[in-house]
Amino acid sequence: MQPFGWVTYPSQRMIESAPGVGVATERGDRAAADAETADVALAASGDGRAFERLYRVHVGRIHSLARRMAGPEVADDLTQDVFVRAWHKLGTFRGEAAFGSWLYRLAVNLILAQRQTRNAEPVRYDAGAALETAQAGAVEPELALDFEEAIGRLPDGARQVFVLHDLAGYKHEEIAALLGIVPGTSKSQLHHARMALRGYLDR
């Protein structure tokens, strides 16, 4: 059952990734973006229902990010933490970027910060880590890991760089700043992650 006051609008990702849309669709997207802007303003003033609508639109993207960055076992908790943090920080949202982008960035920062406090073992970003782990943990063909699952099998450092670069669209300089590494290490990790994932294409 949909909650009271529910409105449907596409996520920012859908809006941003819809090339060649017709005029009617553009109008619909604009209306959706306006609705989202209104919901952000309402939520910032304390309207929980407006914030729930924002949650419904963006939860898939945030949960997927959390699952890919930190693993399925903690994805639910991280997603909840992201939205609770977003609620408390809505007053700092200036509308300079789309709300979805702001939320996504907040999620990345929170996931990385919590990962550092959760794991006692430091993340390995050395050049060989991705390939070594991928090869050591190579799965038998009959297990038929799909591409998504294979991402989850990457070592932490390579997985984080791969998700941030190839899925989230971050640049190496941004990733380096986020992870406390140099851009060259980010590039190297990305290459190794891609090399390890070649075997899971078409699955």
Binding site: A44, V59, S64, W87, I151, H191, R198, L201
Partner: protein, 216 residues
């Protein structure tokens, strides 16, 4: 498979190689089938990543989030941002109109006498108190309510600081208006300005108190 060429292939895919490196790799790719195959695989990995669908969680996480942001827990968030922003906006308006009052109070009496309709007093012989009277009681009541919130810890320190600072600025504007009226009690503009400043203070206090009240 690691050599000088394969290690550059991801950068090649992302178009991040320097011109000279790209030209050298282009030349190598012309004659190396295995590198061309690898390059195509890396491109497909990147393409696959870009179209991976997002997936919602198996269970609805909203109830847990709703509990965490429930009124009472969220009051501090709203106060921390909304009240200072609200007060800052109101103070800015008061300062602008206060500047106009300052200028008006320093214009020659004769010039002012010809500016309005006969320069007649609008509120009689005690214009200052008549301007403030409609608001004084409500303002006192709301100030007491906010003071209570301050003492009980309902308001966080950052909000209290912003509140005190903003109210002090408004009170300064009110004092300025009173002084200007003392020099020119018949000025309709100054009487309006004082009443308007009082009304704005009242509005701000009302809104601040409303935000401080737990929402449902």
């Amino acid at each position: 498979m690691r050599d000088q060429w394969t290690d550059q292939l991801s950068d090649y895919v992302d178009e991040e190689l320097a011109d000279a490196e790209r030209r050298a790799l282009d030349a190598h790719l012309t004659g190396c089938v295995s590198c061309r195959v690898l390059l195509e695989e890396l491109r497909r990995v990147r393409a696959n990543a870009r179209v991976l669908p997002d997936q919602a969680p198996d269970r609805d996480l909203w109830p847990g989030i709703a509990r965490a942001i429930a009124p009472g827990r969220s009051a501090r968030r709203a106060l921390a941002f909304s009240v200072p922003q609200l007060l800052a906006a109101g103070v800015a308006l008061i300062l602008v109109s206060g500047g106009a009052a300052w200028i008006a109070a320093r214009r020659p009496i004769q010039a002012r006498a010809t500016a309005g309709p006969a320069g007649a007093p609008t509120w009689g012989s005690s214009p200052v108190w008549r301007s403030e009277a409609p608001y004084a009681a409500a303002i006192a009541q709301l100030e007491a309510a906010l003071d209570e919130g301050r003492k009980s810890g309902t308001l966080d320190s950052a909000t209290v600081l912003a509140l005190v600072h903003s109210l002090a600025t408004i009170d300064t504007a009110i004092l300025d208006a009173r002084h200007a009226l003392a020099a020119d009690p018949a000025s309709a503009y100054l009487n309006h300005h004082l009443a308007d400043t009082m009304r704005r203070k009242l509005d701000l206090l009302r809104q601040a108190t409303a935000i401080a009240t737990p929402r449902t």
